[in-house]
Structures are given as C-alpha cells and as structure tokens.
Point group: C2
Chain length 326, copies 2
C-alpha cells in the first residue's frame, strides 16, 4: 500500500466559458468537480497504475462531503453540462479514503478554462484552519497508517493552523518506522522538510531556486542533497526531469515537445516515481515512467487525467541520459 | 406575509483578490458565502424592513444545503478570512424557508472582487434541471402558500426544465387567489408574464427595450402597460426609477449621484415597492422607498446589503416628479 498525505485537500471545480474578460459577467457552460490537492491527484494516478493506495489528510464541511463522495466514485464528475467521464476512468481502482474530518470547510479551487484556447485562470481559496486537537488526531492516524505502507508521499501546501515544520515531523516519523518518504511541497515547509532527510523530494525549477538560490538545476539539485534529501528529482516542465541520486545523476525527457494543459503533470510524475520506488525499479526506469506519465497528463483532454494509451506509447521512447560523476 | 419565489436560487460566493488577471493563478484573500437569487435578496431586505416573509422555489444538493443553512442564519458568512457580518445584520428578521428540495444541485455564482478598485468579475453556473414532477410539487406548494400572502414576488431567471410560460402560470394562479403579484425577470419569461396581467413589473432599461423595442423609458413603460402589466416601475440605474401606473406617471431619483457596487440594488428596489404595496402607501412614497433602498444598497460596503442609517437619511430627500397626463 502507498500512503499519500494531503493536508490541504481541495474540491477542484473547472468552469468552461468562451473567454474570461475581467469586470464582466460570464455564463458558465460546463461545471466539472473533482477531488483535488496534490496527494489526492497522486493517489488517483497510482490507483490507475494498479497500486493499492490510501489517502489521508483533512476534509471538512459540505465541500469536504462532496470531495469524499467523488473520491468514492472514479474520476471527475460533471454535475451540469456535458459528461466528461473518460473511458479510462472506468478501470480506475479507488484510493481508500482515510481523510480525517475537521470542523473547517475544505477549500475550493476554481479553474476557469477559455474554451477556444484552453488558457486557464485559477482562483484558489485559502484552506480551513486546522486546530491543535485536529493536528494531534492526524498524527495519531498517520502513525497507525505508516507501518502498513511501502512508501509515503507528503504533498502540497500546509493549511492555516498547521506548523511550518509539519512535513519535517511527518518525515521523521516515517523514517522512524523505516518507510521511504517523498516530499513535494514548496517554500519554508520544503526547506524544513529537506533538513529532516526525506528519501526523495520533487521540486520544480522555481521551488528549487527558492530553496538553494541557484537557477542551475544540477547545481541546485546537488545542493538540495547536501541539505538532507537522499535523492532529488527536479521537474523542468517541457524539458522533463533531472535526478540527483546516490546511484548517479540523470536527465530524462519526452521524445518531442508537447503542447497541452500542464495541470497535474507534476503529480503524475510523483506517482511514477513512487510506483517505481515500491517496484524497486532502477532510476532510469523510474524517470522514464515519471516523464511518460507527466507527458500523457499534459496531452489528456481533461486536466489532471492521463491518457493510458499515450502513456504506454511514450514509455519506451523517453530519452534518459546519465551525467558523468561530478 | 409576503411570498417571494426564487426558482433559480444560488449560493453566492464572493472572492476578494488584489486584481483578476486572466490566465494566471490567484490566491483568494477572503471568501464570503450568502444565499443568492433575486427572490432571496428581496426577502432579506423585506425582513430587514420588518416584514414577515416566506421564500419558496428550489434548493438541492450540497450547495442547496449550505444555502438553507445560511438562510437560517442572518446575512453573509465569511467561512474563511476576515469576518464580514455587519452590525445591521444582527437585527435582521429571518425569511421563513419554504424552498422545495430537488435532486439537482443549486447553482453557485462566483463574484471576484478586485480589492483595490471594487471592480467585479462574475461567473454564473447554469441552474440544475428541474423535473416535471418537481415542478408539479412546486405548484402545489405555491398554491398552498399564496392564499396566506399579502403579495407575491416572482424573481429572476428560470432554471433548465421549467417551461418558459412558468411565470405567466404563477401570475394567473396568484390573480385567481386575489393576491397582488410582482414580476422581476427578463426575456421571453417576462414577455409571457406581462401578458398574464401582473400587478407590477420592474424591468431595467435593457429588459424594457428588449420587451418593447423602445429605448425611451416612458414610451416603453406605457407600451408594457398596454401589453398587460397593471403598473410598470422601470429601474434606470443611477437615474432612479420611472413608474407608469393606473394612478399616474412618476419619476423618482436620489438627491445626488452615488458611486458604489450596484449588485442587488434592483432587488432592494423590489423590496421597497412590495413593502409599500402591502402598506398601501401612495405611489410617490413607494417610489421614494425603492430609490432610497437601492441607493443605500449601492453605498453599502457588502454587495447586496443596504445601510439602514443611509436609507433613513436618504428617504426624505428622494426627488419625486409627477408627469402630466399623456
């Protein structure tokens, strides 16, 4: 079982309109709701790859109720407007819901997609405030789940009320239980998390630069390892990924540049890395999987989904290059 | 008791952000939720004026649950971010909830307010589809409520599934029960409604022009009376209102132009007209009340609220001019 943690889960709402024009009124043509937050996205992709997954974190209020209902189903649901459930969804296994109820309401995110161009405007609500008692309840739940996990992924932002060293604390507890742990966050929670020696971090270029002060990915990735991360896989958008690991340094990229919606591509990469980790694949195979999954996500018609056929087709064509030892 | 009908109720969500920039990501600073839809807004103002009000129409899904919870409270609720409950709200009587449950989910509207300028970008979801059985259940509920009402207000758009002559049907039923009925809608539902001889319609300048083909408010209002409306009060934005009635024609306007957020100003005018009707005020007093309420709504810090002190101060200063007989 792979455990993913989403402390600041979201109900992701996508609106399709002809084009967003500030300071005017828009009739929304189509509304799609799906469970959101990085850890839930990662779990959905892992489940699609056939991995047993458990999701934990927080959910509350009516928005939390909707999120949990959707999690019990499979894939996105369009309550009004055209159905958007893709065929691939039908085959999805479901992540097991181990979210903790909280008194605050789960945040919404609104993605307004211009129908003609696919350009997206994003509005993200702040998360609910998590109380000290709710955080303690989460820790006790986490400690019960971790020993049964092959790997743990800690994903996304921290909601208000959760201390900035929360991921560091969760990393120490996973390491104490001997379970490999991946961290995908940004800013100070990433800085503190790295210092707690996670097995893997997956920053993007901006997060890496903020952490290390260097915009040169190889320099920054090596610096991040020195700061405590056992391995670093930096996602570089259309250029693929750069991995600095105890076994070597690699760069992996798609066979050709692609155009599409990058929403969720990073989460698909995390799912690829985690699945490769628990299957004990060598690094080049893990990176190929991460790049093929994230590219198949960019190319999918529904944001955050991945096209299984495209993934299978891309996987053998990802280019992986090993760097000479430093 | 005054009965207001809101067939396409909404959960109104207001987001405050520094400024909306298309195709970028925004962190929302403040989230406020309130019951929405014209009839609910009218009822809230009527309740604040001390009138017993009952709201009916449809509510469904989790969004409908939130709407009904908020309706049971008073005024807007900011679940996250700074509290925005104004002092005036505390004194509000609550409209009685006689909304009918439906299987579809109540729509959301999102108002994105640029913090610096107050400029607002509006995103309106389509309403839930109302089934034939749900419409029949509504008619039976409406027929039970109408005989106990001093006046009925039919407000806003029709949700999918409700036939375009729905308001005409509701007007005929209210007239059959001897209860005065006000209609505030647009397009074909307004055209058909007017032909069913409502006691009062409150179009704005655009709706009046669409109905009659004339952009000259006096000509258009008189034409609307010929089409069936017993009285017409046209809202003309900052210029106030024009009333064509069996007792004469009047124009009423604020003592000076005001700047602010016009959201809900028309609904406050409807509440002023309805309260004046059931209190049997002469037309000039009704119009003064409508103009003072809508101006106090434009000036209120929270969209759709009105400032009671500003209303009291404005009321005696509204200018009302009678037109000579045609």
């Amino acid at each position: 079982m792979i455990l993913t943690v989403t402390l600041n889960a979201a109900l992701d709402i996508t609106y399709r309109t002809p084009a967003l024009v500030p300071h005017t009124t828009h009739r929304v043509d189509e509304v799609v709701e799906r469970p959101g937050g990085k850890g839930l996205n990662v779990a959905r992709v892992l489940a699609a790859l056939g991995h047993e997954t458990v999701v934990t974190g927080f959910a509350g209020g009516r928005t939390g109720d909707v999120l949990r209902e959707l999690l019990g189903g499979c894939g996105p649901v369009g309550p009004r407007g055209a159905g958007t459930r893709s065929r691939a969804d039908a085959a999805y296994a479901r992540p097991v819901d181990a979210l903790l109820p909280i008194s605050g309401a789960t945040r919404r995110t609104i993605a307004v997609v211009d129908a003609a161009t696919g350009d997206t405007t994003q509005l993200n609500e702040p998360g609910p405030t998590v109380s000290a008692a709710e955080w303690r309840a989460f820790l006790s739940c986490y400690d019960r789940l971790v020993p049964g996990a092959e790997a743990v992924a800690l994903c996304g932002s921290l909601p208000p009320g959760v201390h900035v060293g929360a991921y560091a604390e969760l990393i120490r507890r996973a390491r104490g239980a001997g379970v490999p742990v991946l961290l995908d966050t940004s800013g100070e929670p990433l800085r503190r998390g790295v210092a707690a020696r996670p097995d893997l971090v997956k920053p993007n270029a901006d997060e890496l630069a903020l952490l290390t002060g260097s915009r040169e990915p190889l320099v920054a990735a090596r610096d991040t390892r020195r700061r405590g991360a056992r391995a670093v896989v930096a996602s570089l958008g259309p250029d693929g990924v750069l991995a600095a690991t105890p076994d070597g340094v690699w760069r992996a990229g798609p066979p050709a540049p692609v155009r599409g919606n990058p929403t969720g591509a990073g989460d698909s990469a995390v799912a690829g890395l985690l699945s490769g980790l628990v299957e004990r694949l060598p690094w080049p195979a893990r990176l190929s999987r991460a790049v093929a999954l994230s590219t198949a996500t960019v190319l999918a018609p529904v944001a955050g989904e991945f096209d299984a056929a495209v993934y299978e087709e891309l996987l053998p064509r990802v280019t992986v290059t090993e760097y000479p030892p430093a």
